[in-house]
Amino acid sequence: MKHDDDTSLDRRQALKCAAWAGSGLVWTLNGGVPASSLVGSAEAAATGLSFVQISDSHIGFNKPANPNPNATLTEAIGKIGQLPNKPAFMIHAGDITHLSKPGEFDDADQLIGAARLDVHYVPGEHDVIDENNGAAYLARYGKLSQGKGWYSFDHGGAHFIGLVNVYNLKAGGMGNLGAEQLAWLAGDLKPRSASTPIVVFAHLPLWTIAAEWGWGTQDSAEALKLLARFGSVTVLNGHIHQIAQKVEGNMTFHTARSTAFPQPAPGSAPAPGPQLVPADQLRALLGLSSVRLAHGKQPLAIVDSTLAG
């Protein structure tokens, strides 16, 4: 595929701004259209497709880092209801529950259902620790999926792919997609033209953020190779309970905040567990992402907003 260098430079610059605006919003604004206009896609804000991503709701968690994740999930769903343009659908990037218990899935379904949006799920490692190794998740959310829960769909001219990277993890390694899923992905992408915008979502990051904490996916390079010929690829992940962004060529990587509790930045703590912060600061570290998909050469605008303010 030919690349127009100027376009790709503009795109990179625009995305750098998007990243900056997104992180700037963490403390100052309450998400939505302003950031879209910051990255020069004000028209897209009015006409483009938008969807919303939440992640890591950990329903069932009850430790000091957040004794009531139901309440913070409810607040996140409330924020989604207030978005000026109704999102087309919601993506949940996994760790819906804390312990894969039926009651936790029930509570999550009820709270998330209040958004009255179609929700596309992928499992986190916390969603597949029932006695039957993920059967509960698949029975509930995986009816139309392949293998362990992967699937794709089209919306608004873009192709969306939900991948599963929380099974069969190897000692010392990170996330795992596996040969069966990679073969399916190759087949799924094959008939699509390089100009189709691609949005991939999975729980564990598909780029290595902190190998020592397992924040990456062992065989993600093979998936990214299959995606390399596409002009616009957006990769949305969860798991790390904080925002991390990277732009590499035509690929934009983004991890969302949790709706339940924050986790430390890599290198800032001995282990990646729940981070206890003063109660009045918690909501500034939890949140959701809304994504606008512009047509033409505009990059996707990802706007992160917190539950605070």
């Binding site: 968690f61 880092a65 804390h98 000692a171 010392g172 020592e212 397992g214 001995p270 567990g273």
Partner: protein, 106 residues
């Protein structure tokens, strides 16, 4: 003779608990995403109890001996008797960077 038998019985009685202690029970904690201690040496027949002290669930997986514990929530424990001499490497199936090794002696 009777004395000798009694003496032998007393010895056996005295030794028995020590032997069972040597092949008895040992605890491996799970703290801050690490098995603690990460490496232990035990006698065959020892029961190893894994106790999770983290706010996040963990499990214990040792593929070579087909060991796959359920997920352990905070303060949950899982025990397994290691009865075959040899080295058993294991890890957390949820956080595979967490690794440990148990050397089982005859």
């Amino acid at each position: 003779m009777k004395k000798l038998v009694l003496f032998a019985a007393a010895c056996a009685f005295a030794l028995a608990p020590r032997l069972s202690l040597a092949a008895g029970e040992i605890t491996v904690g799970i703290d801050n995403f690490a098995f603690t201690p990460a490496e232990i040496t035990v006698k065959a027949g020892t029961k190893v109890v894994f106790v999770n002290h983290d706010d996040i669930p963990h499990n214990v997986v040792a593929q070579a001996i087909k060991l796959h514990s359920r997920a352990l929530d905070t303060d949950d424990s899982f025990s397994f008797v290691f009865d075959k001499p040899g080295e058993v490497v294991y890890f957390c199936g949820l956080h595979p960077m967490m690794k440990g090794k148990i050397t089982v002696t005859p």
